[in-house]
């Protein structure tokens, strides 16, 4: 008969552990989770995201990169890339989509302001994933830039398909 007793000690222990875990996770999620947005999504709900740290993704417009060594300010434009994977497929894949985003003057562009010298992978048609805040005057102030360059070695290889794995990226503060 003893086996049928409800293991109260066990239940209480589990509840306490679960409560502690939620106590750790929930506030951390509230402060640590960020929206991950495309530029159009960010700008369409400007007020909602204005006060928050968000992460945005876009295509780097190479000729817009400027760095002032004296003030140590880095500025560049990011062009909107579609959020929907089907749209990206329809545009001919991720790399083609980045290319289209940079060359199409109709795309929404966002000025990104950061500090420090341009990171090594910051170049035309790279995908930038930028963490920061949207300022009141419309520029995006970046704390962190992560870059991915899927197109980096394509031109040099004898094939066009993008099925290999050399999309390394660098991270900067």
């Amino acid at each position: 008969m003893r086996e049928r007793n409800i293991p109260w000690k066990m239940l209480v222990g589990m509840t306490v552990i679960l409560a502690a875990l939620l106590f750790l996770i929930i506030p951390s999620l509230q402060s640590g989770a960020q929206y991950y947005l495309m530029i159009d999504e960010l700008l369409s709900e400007r007020e909602r995201y204005q006060s928050e740290v968000v992460r945005i993704s876009g295509a780097v417009i190479g000729e817009s990169i400027e760095w002032d060594a004296e003030t140590d300010e880095l500025r560049f434009l990011l062009a909107n890339v579609p959020a929907d994977l089907d749209v990206i497929e329809a545009e001919g894949g991720f790399q083609a989509s980045l290319h289209l985003a940079v060359t199409d003057p109709e795309r929404t562009r966002l000025l990104v302001v950061a500090s420090g010298a341009p990171p090594e992978l910051l170049q035309d048609e790279a995908q930038a994933i930028v963490t920061g805040r949207l300022g009141e005057e419309g520029a995006f102030y970046a704390d962190d830039i992560l870059l991915k360059c899927p197109s980096r070695y394509q031109a040099e290889r004898p094939e066009e398909s993008a099925d290999d794995g050399d999309g390394w990226s660098g991270e900067v503060d």
Partner: protein
């Protein structure tokens, strides 16, 4: 010729594995069939080795007409670089991974020779299933021997055999070459060590599965699982340490751990295997405990497979990620199969140890060891939640969310601290903590002394709360260790029948060293929290100040070491402002390396390293046309070296722990004969 031999070898290996699987499933009762299956597995591993050797031959001889070679090789690479290009690209690293699985299967087949006939077929099956799955990926999804083919319309493709209507593309003049970021000494050994760590978990996994299938969770099997887990833990710890060292040197941000999803994927099996090792310290005679240990072992393996999927899935944005690849659906399938198989067998399997004696008693060490395992599992849950947020939020809210380092720092911080508190009494482990025992008295005295010491130090130095807490625990650990050494193992209270854990054994020394490494690492982490950064543009002769240090730019020289790159090297002098004088500490040479082939600029830091702090100088930009042509970023990283020393101490501790296994077996036998004699 090479291609055909290697391909035939790989195909034959797959056929052998298929044969072995069929033999195990259909004829496992017959020892002759099992012997034959065992040999088939060993033959398959040998054939995979052959394919690996051929692929290495292609890399070393720069045969860029092969697509996988083309992507990572270019002329002018040293022999070491060409060999390490094996794991620089996706194709080669998949082959390496599969080959290591083959080696594990080989070892398992060797072990199976001597094991129980009921247990043997399952041990074989659960090492060869992962091996065969990845071999399928190598052959059919990402073949290392694929070449370039040209279609009549001008399109090209990489394939093993000539597609219809295509002709072989002439051999390209040169390959694309390894990404410059990967050319670092740590990169030569960090990935293989990590792979070795990950893959080594396959053996304990297969043993655990076999134990569940056969019901043979004997002491030998459990000991073997413990040894296997420890070996894998050793390689994983070493691999993670070297990886963080690579990040520190190469990524040019002066950090060592960024809570990047792929880093976390590497941490997950480390957490679960550490938990398993702690659970096993209390013996595995109790049935529930045996099941828990086996479950943890299976979970560790599943997390390894999860990591191999996440790295290539494109689901996560990461420094380490290979781009989204055609492999990801197949890898996801392998992951789902591992989880479903492990969990199903764990739930239904019989794992009653033969003698189910002993019961769990609430004791001091019980709380410490099981508590450590629990905290490690809570850390795992926190990390899994973090990894799940991007996928889950998209699903549940149709809104992509991401968690950054802030989440992990906040949520794991208290847990790491709790873990350290549980580590602190380790040096007393061989002793009983019964009421009134000398050990309990030692603990009380040492705790009081540690409180006094840390309070006093806190008065002298501006320590924050965390640092004070860590200081208290470190002093406690140190005092207990000192007392332990002075006592030289007296007063063991006759507690343990397990002689390998007497205070003078190598195994115990290993445990103490390992946990000392934990404290050193923790100091490294807290030291790096006090990192100071300063950035500025300078002309020659200009200087920056960080803390009590002055950083002076002496000169900048541009040179061209070879056709493929240019180097702009800054000469930077570091001075320390002592109270009465300014002392020159060192000169460092941070550089900007421009890779002409990749058109990529890389900052190579100049690091002045001392035991108490690193001065980390990055040359971030150079424009000779303006007045202040060079921009430098200087970081002062207190206690950075403690990170690597701590990591190495942890790994060495595990290594030392492995030594006494010889004695342990002997003492087990002594014990058995004593028991028999009584």
């Amino acid at each position: 010729m090479i291609t055909h031999t290697a391909l035939a070898g790989l195909m034959l290996a797959l056929v052998f594995l298929g044969y072995a699987i069929a033999a195990i499933l259909l004829r496992r009762g017959d020892q002759r069939w099992m012997e034959s299956a065992r040999r088939a597995v060993q033959a398959a591993s040998m054939l995979t080795s052959l394919a690996l050797a051929f692929f290495l031959y292609l890399l070393v001889h720069q045969r860029v007409e092969y697509a996988a070679v083309y992507r990572v090789i270019r002329s002018g690479m040293s022999l070491a670089a060409r060999v390490s290009a094996l794991w620089g690209g996706q194709t080669g690293s998949l082959l390496l991974w599969t080959w290591l699985l083959g080696m594990v299967a080989f070892v398992a087949a060797h072990k199976a020779k001597k094991s129980d006939p009921l247990y043997r077929p399952w041990l074989l099956l659960f090492t060869l299933l992962p091996f065969a799955s990845y071999l399928v990926l190598v052959i059919f999804f990402d073949n290392p021997f694929a070449r370039w083919w040209l279609f009549s319309d001008g399109g090209t493709t990489a394939a093993v055999f000539s597609p219809s209507g295509a002709v072989a593309l002439p051999r390209p003049d040169d390959g694309a070459g390894l990404n410059p970021l990967l050319r670092h000494p740590a990169m030569v050994i960090h990935p293989p060590l990590l792979y070795l760590g990950f893959i080594s978990f396959t053996l304990p996994f297969a043993e655990a599965m076999a134990a569940l299938m056969s019901g043979e969770a004997t002491r030998d099997v459990m000991n073997s699982i413990r040894r296997g887990t420890l070996v894998a833990w050793f390689f994983l710890t070493l691999g993670l340490t070297l990886g963080s060292r690579w990040a520190y040197d190469v990524l040019g941000w002066g950090g060592y751990w960024g809570w990047d999803p792929v880093e976390i994927a590497g941490l997950l099996p480390w957490l679960t295997s550490s938990a398993v090792l702690h659970l096993m310290m209390r013996g595995t005679r109790h049935k529930g405990r045996t099941r828990l240990v086996l479950g943890g072992t299976l979970l560790t393996f599943c997390l390894v497979i999860l990591g191999s999927f996440l790295t290539r899935s494109g689901l996560l944005t990461s420094v380490h990620a290979f781009a989204e690849s055609t492999l990801s659906p197949a890898l996801l399938a392998i992951f789902i199969a591992s989880v479903a198989g492990s969990f199903g067998i764990w739930l239904r399997g019989r794992a009653a140890p033969r003698q189910s004696r002993g019961q769990t008693i609430v004791s001091f060490w019980g709380v410490v060891l099981d508590g450590s395992a629990l905290v490690l599992i809570l850390l795992l849950i926190v990390c899994l939640v973090g990894l799940a947020v991007p996928v889950g939020s998209e699903w549940l809210m149709d809104q992509a969310m991401i968690v950054g380092p802030a989440y992990y720092r906040q949520a794991t911080g208290p847990l790491w601290l709790l873990l350290l508190a549980l580590v602190a009494p380790t040096p007393l482990y061989p002793h009983s903590m019964r009421r009134g025992s000398q050990s309990l008295r030692s603990l009380v005295v040492a705790t009081s002394l540690s409180v006094l010491v840390s309070a006093a130090v806190n008065g002298l130095l501006p320590l924050n709360l965390l640092e004070t807490a860590l200081l208290f625990m470190s002093v406690l650990y140190f005092l207990l260790l000192t007392e332990q050494i002075l006592r030289r193992g007296k007063d063991c209270s006759g507690r343990r029948s397990d002689r390998s854990l007497r205070p003078h054994t190598a195994r115990f020394a290993g445990i103490v060293l390992l946990h000392l490494g934990v404290f050193l690492f923790a100091w490294g982490v807290l030291g790096m929290e006090r990192q100071q950064t300063i950035q500025g543009a300078l002309a020659a002769g200009g200087h920056l100040e960080v803390g009590e240090y002055t950083v002076r730019l002496d000169e900048v020289v541009r040179n061209v070491p070879d056709e493929q790159r240019t180097l702009v090297v800054a000469t930077v002098s570091l001075y320390e402002q002592a109270p009465d004088a300014v002392v020159r500490l060192a000169r460092v040479f941070p550089a900007l390396e421009q890779d002409l082939v990749y058109d990529q600029v890389r900052a190579i830091p100049g690091v002045y390293s001392r035991i108490d702090k690193d001065l980390y100088v990055l040359f971030t930009g150079w424009n000779p046309e303006i007045d202040v042509p060079a921009s430098l970023r200087v970081m002062m990283n207190p206690l950075a070296n403690f990170l690597w020393i701590g990591g190495l101490a942890m790994a060495s501790g595990a290594l030392v722990m492995m030594i006494p296994d010889v004695f342990e077996r002997r003492s087990d036998q002594d014990e058995a004969s004593n028991e028999a004699g009584q």
